[in-house]
Symmetry: C2
């Protein structure tokens, strides 16, 4: 994936999580595959609304779906979580280097003889 495509994928990934119902669906799917009605029921939302939210999650790379007979089953896709973990870990690393540099700077300032 090139940089532009990767960035667009991160947009879709984070956008998918910016909604309580979609996060609720992911929590349910973390416990195993489910159908649209399994997912809509506990959240108290209508099926067409659930289908739209699932499409956003699918675009974000969080779920895959498969239709067997008349029932479409949704399964969580762990790769999206990997991508998020990688993103968060990189920011944490950048942030820690900033604090390390600050600490080094403060240590150097403390060691300087008073003039």
């Amino acid at each position: 994936m090139n940089r532009v495509a990767e960035s667009a994928q991160l947009d879709r990934l984070f956008f998918a999580l910016a909604d309580e119902y979609r996060r609720g669906m992911l929590d349910r799917l973390s416990r195993g595959p489910a159908s649209v009605s399994d997912l809509a029921g506990p959240l108290g939302i209508a099926l067409p609304s659930a289908v739209k939210h699932l499409a956003v999650l699918e675009l974000g790379g969080f779920v895959v779906s498969e239709k067997v007979g008349r029932v479409r089953t949704y399964t969580i896709e762990p790769k999206a979580l990997d991508a998020m973990e990688a993103w968060v870990a990189r920011r944490r690393k950048l942030l820690n280097s900033q604090f390390d540099r600050l600490e080094l700077y403060l240590a150097q300032q403390t060691r300087k003889p008073a003039r």
Copy 2:
């Protein structure tokens, strides 16, 4: 923070990340505090646009700002990264338990004597 407020905050947190410019600003801020023009310049965006993106990041809890004289300086807020790490870690745990249960189930099936 109650559950509703916490969920609304997660909405704002993930929405803030669903944009390449805002993620670019966070990368820059991970290396140290910066002014609006420091942040707008490298991204090639206009100052009013940068101000809007920074307001979204501030709502998401990723940055704090302080005005000294005529210059407003933005600093990264590590707590938002903590909240994200907690969210991701919880989903990873749920997902791993799902795989553990699946593994246990398969192991039990394998052990069953053929009838």
